[in-house]
């Protein structure tokens, strides 16, 4: 059986990767998961300078999901290159760095810095983070601005570029087409849905930052729908994510058109979730005589 997929130039030995911000820098889960067995590791979003992140509470539980407003806490790109990439280089797994900026220039600087760093297989350009004041979400909400970021980043690096799209838009296909046109090698979706919880005992928002990003099984139907729509709109590969907890969930994304899948908050609940997804996909393929994972990508379109 063949599980290998190629995500815009990143060769993954299987389609299972991690959602940025939910798997730290890999080492946090190394006690539970053999990192060599992952298709790729996508690390926590990195910015040019260190960021402290938002005040707490940063998370709130919601029905079949959670809100987060971490606020891109990270030690900055230099520290990531120094401290975290060398650790990951020990493993036989492509490392994808998720980058975030306040300005287009931030993204460009990050890309050209990481272009020269060893051990980077590709960049995931986060134009969809709902948890920072400037930039982030704003870039991803409009097809033209989104394309602007990708175009500039494209010029700054030869690394494979994955544009991470926001679900908080009227027409995700339009954004996907636009970033594909601007040179993205792949798209990943979805980032979190903007949401909010109020603590009725205090009458205050449950998160210190008022709003946060909703993820988890609750959002999966929205995510599968968006993958479906984007598959029809663009020809570049899709990394699907949003509420994947098991192989069946992952297969929904693959059948909707994703070439790879990322496991997000499910790792918090089950630290071996990535491995169980992988093993479950293998079992499904065995049981259904599917010789190559590529045979499953997008099949629901033919059957609907």
């Amino acid at each position: 059986m063949n599980f290998a997929v190629n995500i815009g130039g990143i060769r993954m030995k299987n389609p299972v990767t991690t959602a940025s911000g939910t798997f730290g820098y890999g080492r946090e889960y190394a006690g539970f998961v053999d990192l060599n067995r992952l298709g790729a590791v996508v690390i926590k979003g990195v910015t040019l300078l260190p960021r402290p992140g938002n005040p707490t509470p940063r998370i709130a539980e919601t029905p079949a999901g959670m809100l987060n407003s971490i606020g891109l806490e990270n030690p900055g790109v230099e520290a990531v290159i120094e401290k975290h990439l060398p650790y990951l280089a020990r493993f036989d797994v492509p490392v994808i760095v998720n980058i975030a900026g306040d300005t287009v220039d931030d993204y460009v600087k990050l890309a050209s810095r990481l272009d020269k760093a060893p051990g980077v297989a590709g960049l995931e350009v986060n134009i969809s983070c709902p948890n920072v004041k400037k930039g982030g979400l704003a870039f991803g909400s409009d097809p033209d601005t989104a394309a602007g970021v990708i175009r500039e980043v494209r010029a700054a690096t030869r690394l494979p570029l994955i544009a991470k799209l926001s679900p908080n838009v009227t027409d995700i296909s339009a954004v996907a087409e636009s970033v594909a046109g601007a040179g993205a090698d792949a798209v990943s979706l979805i980032n979190t849905l903007l949401g909010m919880v109020i603590d009725v005992n205090t009458g205050r928002p449950a998160l210190a930052s008022v709003m946060g990003g909703l993820s988890g099984p609750a959002v999966r139907p929205v995510a599968v729908r968006m993958v479906w729509q984007v598959y029809r709109a663009v020809n570049i590969p899709i990394i699907g994510m949003g509420g994947i907890t098991c192989a069946e969930d992952a297969l929904q994304f693959i059948m909707a058109g994703a070439s790879a899948v990322a496991v997000g908050m499910a790792s918090f609940v089950n630290p071996r979730a990535t491995m169980e997804v992988l093993e479950g996909i293998e079992a499904y393929m065995r049981d259904n005589n599917v010789g190559d994972i590529k045979e499953l990508i997008g099949i629901a379109h033919e059957r609907s």
């Binding site: 911000g21 939910t22 539970f32 971490i70 988890g216 918090f268």
Partner: protein
């Protein structure tokens, strides 16, 4: 650090609204240190979806105990479980307390359910101190005497215990920190260990004076429990002056040097 399913040996109400759960979890029991915690799934479905962090109350002979307050959706589900049921547990997680060297004068201060992890700490201190348990003072506080968990056992272990109760039913009428402030003056303490709600920790910071080393256990909402998600941030001093950064309660803590915390 394990993630396994363990069988419940016991899950009983010990004080109103609080339960003691005993798990048959040999891997965890043999590695657990006071101040560390478990991260538990409360049921096998997605309601609730996140794990819940609960301190290790005690661990011995293959068994691990947690003492918990029924606070909401998750702990209510835990409370429904019975002997023989299975719980999915990650643990032992986090950095625990620095144990005292024999001879150090120690105070252990707990507020409400905050006392949960202190019991395990006292067991270990008891082993270190042998007969010299009078060098250790234990101060616990609650709304009323009956709501202090494990008082009898602590006395049985041989530690001098003072109880503060808001309603005057204890040795002291008022908060545990007020009682501590009154007593501590005369104790020339080397170390203080504390655990309790944030207002208590803040009050303690004002009451403790500059001399003893002070370690406190901090609570924050958690996602992963292993340092990956950065949910459980707590403010710690960085450099001199006003500067601060965030530490992760789950892996940098939950036990922190009180003076490093920005409260």
């Amino acid at each position: 650090m394990f993630n396994k399913k363990y069988t419940i040996v016991k899950n009983e109400e010990v004080i109103p609204g609080h339960r003691l759960m005993c798990l048959n979890a040999p891997e965890i029991a043999s590695r657990a240190a006071p101040g560390q915690f478990l991260h538990l799934r409360c049921g096998d479905g997605q309601d609730p979806i996140l794990r819940r962090p609960l301190s290790i109350h005690f661990a011995d002979r293959g068994r691990v105990y947690i003492l918990y307050r029924i606070a909401g959706r998750g702990t209510s589900r835990l409370a429904l479980m019975a002997r023989g049921d299975i719980v999915d547990v990650m643990g032992p997680l986090g950095r625990g307390f620095t144990l005292p060297a024999p001879g150090e004068r120690v105070a252990v201060v707990g507020g409400g359910i905050g006392a949960a992890p202190l019991f395990f700490l006292l067991k270990k201190i008891g082993k270190i101190y042998g007969k010299k348990k009078d060098m250790v003072r234990v101060f616990l506080g609650a709304s009323t005497l009956a709501m202090v968990p494990g008082a009898a056992q602590i006395r049985k272990m041989g530690f001098p215990l003072d109880i503060a109760a808001d309603d005057g039913s204890g040795d002291f009428k008022g908060t545990v920190v007020d009682m501590f402030r009154k007593e501590a003056k005369n104790l020339a303490l080397d170390r203080v260990y504390a655990c309790g709600p944030p207002p208590m920790i803040r009050a303690l910071a004002g009451a403790v004076g500059p001399d003893p080393a002070v370690e406190v256990s901090v609570e924050e909402r958690m996602g992963c429990g292993v340092g990956a998600c950065l949910s459980c941030a707590c403010k710690v001093r960085a450099g001199e002056g006003e500067g601060f950064g965030y530490a992760r309660v789950c892996t940098d803590g939950p036990v922190f040097d009180l003076r490093k915390l920005v409260l």
